[in-house]
Symmetry: C2
Subunit: 301 residues, 2 copies
């Protein structure tokens, strides 16, 4: 029997496409995939998705790609290779995408995951055209899964791989209530789980403890992993955890957190159910913070 944890599949986390890594690294196989007349090309408007008549991701043929652009191999399914075009579009920042997130949350899980992969990679190539080690231009390699500072082009030989930046996002519980906060950029009345990037030299558990102390002034214990989610704005890995604290006194980092409070089971239920007199607006369905809050509610049932 599956536990609750295994059934949590946040938006973007449901990818099942075979990523075909053995094709990426084999130039002959990669060329054959690109020349395959069935090969598909994900339609993108810059970094944004394009939808077909029924609201699915729209696809063209790989041979329609601009000859100026490299191709990204997204994966292969039943002998059909799936590509995206490295079109040079870069991310416009975290504030631009709220309407888009809503739309993506309604896509079937597999399509949302394909789009997440394509978006992170197209953006990474656009913002990593030069070698961080020596400053020379780099070129896409391995079907878009690396960039090489090619010695044959007078480069240093360094190979660069796409970033995946882990972020801890977490609840803390005290006396049966749960901690939520809001950043200044959130929509009115919205509260969510606190979050922060993992730093070098830190475990997931260490990051949860540090962030909750920095942002809310609480010391937590019993950190528990719940679920994870790729978040392609631009390249985060959200790692959702719960924790426990014994002292609810909050000291907020007011640069990061505009307001934070402890919410009761009934208050969280009211917000999750969207009741008209709810104390706050719960995180939207595409956010792993909502999965995390639901997991907390389920544990209380």
């Amino acid at each position: 029997m599956l536990t609750a944890r295994e059934t949590i599949v946040p938006t973007f986390a449901g990818g099942t496409l075979d990523r075909a890594d053995q094709v990426r690294v084999n130039p002959d196989k990669l060329r054959a995939a690109m020349m395959n007349p069935r090969a598909k090309l994900l339609k993108l408007d810059g970094l944004n998705p394009v939808f077909d008549d029924v609201g699915d991701l729209a696809w063209g043929a790989a041979y329609e790609a601009s000859p100026d652009n490299d191709l990204l191999l997204l994966g292969i399914e039943e002998d059909t290779p799936f590509f995206a075009e490295l079109n040079g579009a870069g991310d416009a920042g975290p504030l631009a995408n709220r309407a888009l997130w809503q739309t993506l949350g309604n896509l079937p899980a597999e399509q949302a995951a394909i789009y997440a992969t394509a978006r992170s990679l197209v953006d990474w190539h656009a913002r990593h055209k030069f070698c961080a080690q020596c400053g020379k231009p780099t070129q896409s390699r391995k079907g878009g899964w690396a960039r090489l500072c090619d010695k044959e082009n007078d480069g240093c030989g360094a190979e660069h791989f796409p970033r995946t930046d882990p972020v801890a996002i977490m609840l803390s519980e005290c006396e049966g209530k749960v901690l939520l906060g809001r950043q200044p950029r959130f929509p009115p009345k919205s509260f969510s789980a606190l979050a922060g990037f993992l730093e070098p030299g830190e475990s997931i558990e260490g990051c949860v403890k540090r962030e909750l102390f920095e942002e809310a002034g609480i010391k937590v214990r019993d950190v528990r992993y719940v679920a994870s989610q790729p978040w392609p704005f631009p390249s985060s890995l959200m790692i959702a955890c719960t924790s426990v604290t014994d002292d609810p006194t909050l000291t907020l980092d007011e640069e990061e957190i505009e307001e934070a409070a402890w919410f009761s089971l009934d208050e969280v239920k009211g917000a999750m159910n969207g009741e008209p007199d709810a104390l706050f607006v719960a995180p939207p369905p595409f956010a792993i913070a909502r999965n995390l809050l639901q997991h907390w509610l389920d544990g209380k049932a």
Copy 2:
């Protein structure tokens, strides 16, 4: 009461130093910390640690740092700031460090975590001197926790942050036995958990499933998170998981995996105890793979 999971603190994961992020981002506070006569400087030989007479990490005074090198703020404890020098040393690759790992595994947890942080950051600065977006030279900012492509120096204004690359490392269980494998570069008879980097657009659970299918040809379910570990060679975050499979038939990726097999409880116990007739050599104490195997044994007890 703590569960088994909370008590797993792999080498490098036990950091408790206050990283003092509010000082990093405040130029006045940062300068005061650097000028503090008590401020300490971690001694490094390139990227390698230097030990004092009793085998602890050796420290000098911050004012002894070369004026040519930027300083990295490691953290602040009881009004004493701790720094490392961005000395330009870069990582020599994963094969160079085996003897070093052994030594580090014997350090107190707090010291191992401080060294891990310093090593990852010193190396990151050495190999990221140029802007990946425009190719211009960048400068250290925020006490070594960022590099800026400064518009005042004709740069593009991009801010770059240190990498932390998540890696899934995992067991799979089938019919009471556990899957371990060896890479060609491992010492003789050594077996460990399989592992691989998370990719953009992937959850932790998705990465575990993909890697075990790519490397061993098995389809797994019930992925469970166990523990995490920063691994500063150069900047990984090891995420240890268990999983279950119903079909033990292995199909190895022979580029990656030289040999893999299912081991019984008694065979794992013999290896973990270092028995003379053990079938294989278990992962060393500094490796999270050993914590993961111990967790598996504990679950069977």
